[in-house]
């Protein structure tokens, strides 16, 4: 049984196919990566899987049930969580509150209860706050528990997004370029964070440009080009696949 399966998935913008009749299956396992040159359709694919875009055609299955066309907030309830290539931090909230939003679906969200501050809200928030602090510790942001997000450095915000996504207790975590904009040292610690997340039996699907990170951490790699699947396999195979090399660097033989 596959965890996530795409069936002839397509999505076009203004006549251009960003994702083009794509089919593949993600088997349960700790860390998967989706790579490909610029414009290969990786982020569009993430947006399709998490329901932000509706596919032009095709289907998406999660745990073998059809989730095509479901709203993002419904998918979150099924166990899909993600981070974003461009930071999508709630800058109008503190770090710990950002993480608490991640627990939205497990919180008491009755309107009148919130308005009148029922006991369930008070205790629920206290527990959520404690759990959020734990999660911040987990992603090594223990020092920022009380911080306003507007004063946090970029690298910390990248981790905060991961903590926030984990707060939803996902079974699958989609990370969209977690290392983008980070220096090598920060990238290395993101590397170990990903492994730590995977060790907690969360399946990670990673889109990333930093090949060193991808090759080092992935159990399975999918290569996209022009919205289609170019290759898939283990890191070693991918790296020595001539199609992949050509996709990335161009064909060395052609000009000379």
């Amino acid at each position: 049984m596959s965890l996530l399966r795409l069936e002839n998935l397509s999505r076009s913008f203004g006549g251009i196919d960003a994702v083009d009749n794509l089919s593949f299956a993600v088997e349960p396992g700790p860390i998967h990566s989706i790579i490909g040159p610029n414009g290969a359709g990786k982020t569009t694919l993430f947006n399709l899987i998490t329901g932000l875009y509706k596919p032009s055609s095709g289907k998406i299955f999660f745990n073998e049930s059809d989730i095509t066309g479901k709203h993002p907030w419904q998918l979150a309830g099924l166990g899909l969580a993600r981070t974003f290539q461009n930071l999508q931090i709630f800058f109008n909230m503190s770090a710990v509150e950002n993480v608490m939003v991640g627990m939205h679906l497990k919180s008491d969200t009755r309107f009148h209860a919130s308005l009148l501050r029922f006991k369930s809200i008070v205790t629920g928030d206290r527990l959520n706050r404690e759990r959020a602090a734990e999660l911040l510790n987990f992603v090594d942001l223990g020092d920022y528990v009380g911080s306003e997000t507007s004063s946090m450095p970029y690298g910390a915000l990248k981790r905060l997004e991961i903590a926030r996504a984990l707060a939803a207790d996902p079974s699958v975590l989609l990370l969209d370029e977690p290392a983008a904009g980070l220096n090598p040292a920060e990238t290395e610690s993101v590397d170990s964070l990903i492994q730590k997340v995977a060790a907690n039996s969360v399946t990670v699907i990673l889109v990333e440009h930093d090949m060193r990170l991808v090759m080092g951490v992935s159990d399975h790699i999918f290569v996209l080009e022009g919205g289609r699947l170019l290759a898939e396999g283990k890191a070693y195979d991918i790296r020595h696949n001539p199609d992949v090399v050509a996709a990335y660097l161009g064909e060395s033989g052609r000009v000379r």
């Binding site: 610029n38 414009g39 370029e177 090949m211 161009g250 060395s252 000009v255």
Partner: protein
Amino acid sequence: MLLGIKELDCHYGRIQALHGIDMAVDEGELVALVGANGAGKTTLLRTISGIEPASGGSITLDGHDITHYSSDKRVRLGIIQVPEGRQMFAPMTVEDNLMIGGYTRSGDERSETLEQVFAMFPVLKERRHNAAGTLSGGQQQMLAISRALMARPRLLLLDEPSMGLSPLLVDEVFATIQKLRDAGTTIFLVEQNAYMALAIADRGYVMEAGAIVLADSGERLIVNDRVKEAYLGL
């Protein structure tokens, strides 16, 4: 030295996208800048064009400091960029796109260059009254380059001219670039398609994580495994 860049930094929001870039382009040269996605190549071009402000270091043209010049002033000085994704004025005609390209030049210069451009790309002349958005991808790339030529560039900055084009068209674009170089235009080419770019370049720079990690002649870089490493993390 036409373009000189020293210790250039650029912050993109909270991210430091460029870390102390040092590089130069000489008159008449074709210099390629290669590197993986997200390495900071486009940011470097945007900083040279004045779209992104530099947060440190300097940019000089002919030895004059232009680090704090506005983008339109740089265009007047001859630094012209062909942006990534072609960026047509899609509903406007081919001819209007070209005229806008020559916005900073005098009327006579514009009509003169227009003739040259049409001679170089007859298809554009044929379709001069069509909306730019109706051109094919390859024609749009030609138009994008032509639009830049209308400004009579001293330094032409090309950002990913091969992106989204079929292999046949990529060849055509690269042939055009070579032709321009042969005609004496100084070109700074940013490409993901590293092998092709380096193959036609006099010199090349390899960028990784916002910094230049390697600089050499095109021929030598093309056989350097460090390039492949920058892309595929070997």
